[in-house]
């Protein structure tokens, strides 16, 4: 490997950062999914793992001296990789970056792609948090969503994860899906909560352009708006009975079990996204890796890569953030969280009072009952959560 060439962009970033690893493979694409993922044969998967490991090493050089506080491997389905591949990836991460001793290391797992052996592999590789894509505990609805697993497969997966020693597990659930009644949702929610995972993400289905769901959106029997909002509003109430607290629009956690990695996204911690199509944010610049598999593989298959991470041609869509952009992002992302944003942090970060910059907007949405200010923090009200886009878009620069 060529000698380390420090990237100026990285050097400017502060003492700690997060790491995201993208595994763009899955067994089968779900009807609602708009993430960059597809099925691929064993050959392609192996080529990809090798390329990813090379990117990990390149990025590691660039992040020399930066503490990594969280790692998150998502997809796709990272666990479609075999145990050996998973081991190699995490070995590379450990070798290339300075991970904090208590770093949160999460892997997304989909039921039907892991057995106990693979879970143990993950555990041994240093993974200490799992995010299990459950979506529903209703076989009828799982079929509708195009998932490969059923209720039993999920339950076996969850218990196996516990047996493998995972003490920090998150479950993804989805409300507002076609043919789902209010009671269907409540049943799934309670059953999931009774399993006692440390964290639950409960998403309202979004029809994303380009997905099969989007194409047949006119024939989907979606819950009506009143029902859908009741599902959302009651989620918070029901989960609080089990000791979960909502801390973001769609995220609920037991005490001290918030997903630190995701909280980092909402509070402006820099991150390196490695792998096909992954996004990075280095404090003042955002960019994204190419989502063209051959281009990605070609670059990292070269043994003599002429440019350091992140200046290679595979890092594209580079966007330098102006002060106005950075302030808008701080507010928009921060407001996603229950606790909102701190006026003091805003001042220390941008050297301006938030009221000076956004006074009129804050006042307007305050009057409308969508924003509230208390103890130096600004946050969305319950109604504001449901109408957050309406509020947030006003903060964007002209």
């Amino acid at each position: 490997m060529a000698e380390r060439v420090a990237s100026s962009a990285v050097e400017k970033s502060m003492g700690c950062a997060e790491l995201y690893l993208h595994i763009p493979f899955c067994m089968k694409k779900c009807g609602y999914c708009d993430f960059l993922s597809f099925s691929a044969d064993a050959d392609m998967r192996e080529r990809y793992v090798r390329a990813l490991i090379r990117e990990i090493k390149d990025a590691g050089d660039a992040f020399y001296g930066t503490r990594i506080v969280t790692v998150f491997a998502g997809g796709g389905t990272p666990t479609v990789l075999d145990s050996g591949q998973i081991r190699r990836i995490f070995r590379a991460v450990q070798a290339s970056f300075s991970l904090d001793a208590d770093a949160e290391i999460t892997v997304e797992v989909n039921p039907g792609t892991v057995d106990e052996e693979k879970l143990v592999t993950l555990r041994d590789a240093g993974v200490n948090r799992l995010s299990i894509g459950c979506q529903s505990l209703d076989d009828r609805l799982l079929l509708e969503l195009g998932r490969i697993h059923d209720r039993d497969v999920f339950l076996r997966c969850f218990h196996a994860a516990r047996r493998a020693g995972f003490r920090n597990i998150s479950i993804d659930l989805m409300s507002g899906i076609p043919d789902q009644s209010y009671m269907d949702w409540v049943r799934t929610l309670r059953e999931a909560a009774e399993l006692g995972p440390e964290h639950i993400s409960a998403y309202s289905l979004i029809l994303e352009e380009g997905t099969p769901f989007w194409r047949k959106r006119d024939s989907l029997r979606l819950p009506d708006e009143d029902t859908e909002r009741r599902m959302y509003e009651d989620t918070r109430r029901i989960l609080s009975e089990y000791g979960y607290e909502r801390y973001e629009i769609s995220n609920y956690a037991k005490r001290d079990r918030r997903c630190r990695h995701n909280v980092g996204y909402w509070t402006g911690v820099p991150y390196a996204g490695l792998g096909l199509g992954a996004s990075s944010y280095l404090g003042n610049v955002r960019f994204r890796n190419t989502d063209h598999m051959e281009a990605y593989l070609d670059w990292f298959e070269q043994t003599d890569r002429a440019l350091p991470w992140p200046e290679a041609p595979v890092h594209c869509e580079r966007e330098a953030l102006s002060d106005a952009d950075a302030m808008a992002e701080f507010v928009i992302l921060g407001l996603r969280m229950e606790e909102g944003i701190s006026e003091e942090t805003f001042f220390s970060r941008f050297g301006k009072n938030i009221g000076e910059v956004y006074g009129e907007i804050l006042e307007k949405h305050g009057r409308e009952g969508l924003l509230e200010e208390k103890n130096g923090r600004i946050f969305l009200t319950e109604r504001g959560f449901s109408l957050s886009n309406y509020v947030m878009c006003d903060f964007l620069p002209d």
Binding site: Y203, E225, I249, Y265, S279, S388, C393, L396
Partner: protein, 604 residues
């Protein structure tokens, strides 16, 4: 310089139904002919033209002079005069026709004769023009030139068997058209020594030269220094320059003689003193009688026009003044609306003319505009015996002061294939048409004749006609007069507040249907807001229809993680852009398009 031989001049126009290929043929003719006569090429003309070029003057004139060397070896001057192709501009068309000695009728070999084909042919025949058909688009697989020729003979009653079969698109056989022009179109007549008598068929304003008047000289000669008088408006000016219209540029010359088509400039500041149809004569040696046919055109359709950004009001005023320099049939006066602020009431010839004005204001002057319901001029007879011409519904007097009202009526001619006659008749009846009769043009096609209120025509009639006839029907209409009618003012209330810009005058019998449709449409147009918004239609104090825009409940992105931030930000940016296109009316945000869109009611 000696006179031009009148026998070598051909003044003609090309008439056609829309999309039958008129402009394409005109372009081909220009391509295949020359800009200058061989005599001009040796004279100073070129120098003058270079001067024009230097000053960057290009003119989009309604006439083009080109030089054609015919098969007989002689050079012919072609003056090709363009005619606006829409019923809104019938008067302008008639004046352009009056400047010609013959007409080429372009008929699409795949479509055959259509309503405006007939309308234009009849108009040409009214001006005693001989009409020579040209069958176009023979390159298309579905072309049926022989069938179309038979149809022309059968329906129009003019000889068509020898008509050139061409493709203006590919250029095929266009030479035959050029020869046809030489051989068939009559050369002009007129005494070059008689007192000057020239027809204005167009006038346009140019920043350097002032008004450029397009004329056909009927009698006499005009040259630089001639003191001319516009016989109808009485304006007198001294000629600064005369010349011809080359393709896209002016070619100055010494004089224009009887039989020629060209331009005159005389430092005239605006087109209102050089109206289309007026006669130009020599102030010192005037002709005895003006040319027939002049009339002062009056606007038929009115609507409110407001700058989207109220700070742009002075710019809109400036732009309208500039447009008016060039468009004598554009009328405007300031008005104010509670909903839209300061703006103007625009009067124009028809909806197309309105579209053109709006497009020019938006494109050439960079203005974003909000328009209100187009309406016509109603005659309001008050109980005190006075009559007011009402162009803005907001000015309707209190019902207690109104004795009765009258509305303008047109004669509409609709050509349609026989299978759709039923649907079209039904549409005309829904629109209060009074059936006058029907002519079968051949076994498959008929022309329907109706008397119909103009306000029914400007209200989406054309779109409805197209949709009910699968695009086969075509329409031609002319104003015939006013007729007493039961009319009421329909008001729209949004969140209990009257939106004056949405008020319009409607036939009492249609008020309920129109009101209901307006409410339904507005419901679609107004985005959900933080509270329920009632939308009501009212006649006087009586609510006749109601819809509700339910309060917005959900507008949230469930997921936003590291990889999504840029994309989600773009979604929010789009939403913010959308907010900017809103106009605050009372407590409600209404998209600016809504004012226009609610008028385009679906015909279902």
């Amino acid at each position: 310089m000696s006179s031009i031989d009148q026998n070598k001049i051909r003044n003609f126009c090309i008439i056609a139904h829309i999309d039958h290929g008129k402009s394409t043929l005109a372009d081909r003719i220009i391509e295949k002919t020359g800009l200058l006569t061989s005599r001009e090429m040796q004279s100073q003309v070129l120098d003058n033209m270079d001067l024009e070029r230097e000053r960057g003057i290009t003119i989009k004139a309604q006439a083009v002079r080109t030089i054609y060397r015919a098969k007989d070896g002689e050079e012919y001057i072609f003056n090709m005069i363009d005619t606006p192709g829409h019923v809104d501009f019938n008067y302008e068309v008639s004046r352009s026709l009056a400047a010609c000695d013959g007409a080429l009728l372009v008929v699409d070999a795949t479509q055959g004769v259509e309503a405006q084909t007939l309308g234009n042919v009849y108009l040409a025949m009214d001006h005693n023009l001989d009409v020579y058909p040209v069958i176009n688009k023979i390159d298309l697989p579905s072309a049926d030139p022989q069938g179309v020729k038979d149809e022309i003979e059968e329906i129009i009653g003019i000889e068509a068997q020898d008509a050139p079969e061409i493709s203006a698109k590919t250029g095929e056989n266009v030479d035959a058209v050029l020869e046809e022009i030489v051989q068939k179109i009559a050369p002009p007549e007129g005494d070059v020594k008689a007192p000057l008598k020239a027809l204005i068929f167009d006038s346009l304003y140019d920043a350097y030269k002032g008004v450029i008047i397009s004329v056909r000289v009927m009698e006499g000669t005009v040259r630089r220094g001639t003191k001319i008088r516009m016989m109808a408006t009485g304006a007198v000016e001294e000629v600064v320059e005369v010349g011809y219209f080359g393709a896209g540029r002016l070619i100055p010359c010494d004089e224009l003689e009887a039989g020629m088509v060209g331009y005159i400039t005389a430092s005239i500041k605006d087109v209102s003193s050089t109206r289309v149809g007026d006669t130009v004569t020599d102030e010192e040696r005037p002709c005895a009688k003006a040319l027939p046919g002049y009339k002062k055109v009056t606007p038929m359709v009115y609507c409110g026009l407001y700058p989207e950004d109220s700070a742009k009001y002075p710019e809109l005023q400036d732009a309208l003044e500039k447009l008016q320099l060039n468009d004598a049939s554009l009328f405007f006066e300031p008005e104010t609306s509670a909903a839209l602020g300061f703006g103007f009431r625009i009067g124009c010839l028809g909806l197309l003319h309105l579209d053109i004005i709006q497009e020019r204001l938006e494109r050439e002057y960079g203005l974003d505009l909000v328009t209100t319901s187009p309406g016509v001029i109603y005659k309001v007879h008050k109980t005190d015996g006075s009559v007011i011409a009402l162009s803005n519904p907001s000015n309707l007097p209190d019902p207690s002061e109104i004795d009765f009202m009258e509305e303008p009526i047109v004669k509409a001619d609709i050509m349609v294939t026989s299978e759709y006659v039923g649907q079209v008749m039904q549409l005309c009846e829904e629109r209060r048409g009074e059936y006058l009769g029907m002519d079968y043009l051949d076994q498959t096609r008929a022309e329907l004749h109706y008397h119909m209120p103009l306000n029914e025509i400007i209200y989406d009639f054309f779109d409805a006609l197209k949709s009910r006839s699968r695009g086969y029907a075509s329409l031609d209409y002319e104003l015939t007069g006013y007729q007493r009618s039961d009319l009421v003012k329909l008001d729209i209330l949004v969140n209990k507040e009257l939106v004056d810009a949405l008020s319009f005058i409607v036939f009492e019998g249609s008020a309920y249907t129109r009101g209901r449709k307006m409410c339904e449409k507005l419901k679609e147009e107004i985005p959900r807001q933080l509270f329920d918004i009632p939308i009501q239609a009212a006649v006087g104090s009586k609510i006749i229809a109601r819809e509700t825009v339910k309060a917005l409940r959900k507008d949230v992105l469930a997921k936003c993680y590291g990889g999504d931030i840029s994309r989600k930000k773009k979604l929010l940016e789009k939403q913010k852009e959308g907010k900017k296109r809103m106009r605050q009316v009372g407590s409600v945000e209404i998209p600016k398009d809504a004012f226009m869109n609610v008028l385009k009611l679906d015909d279902k």
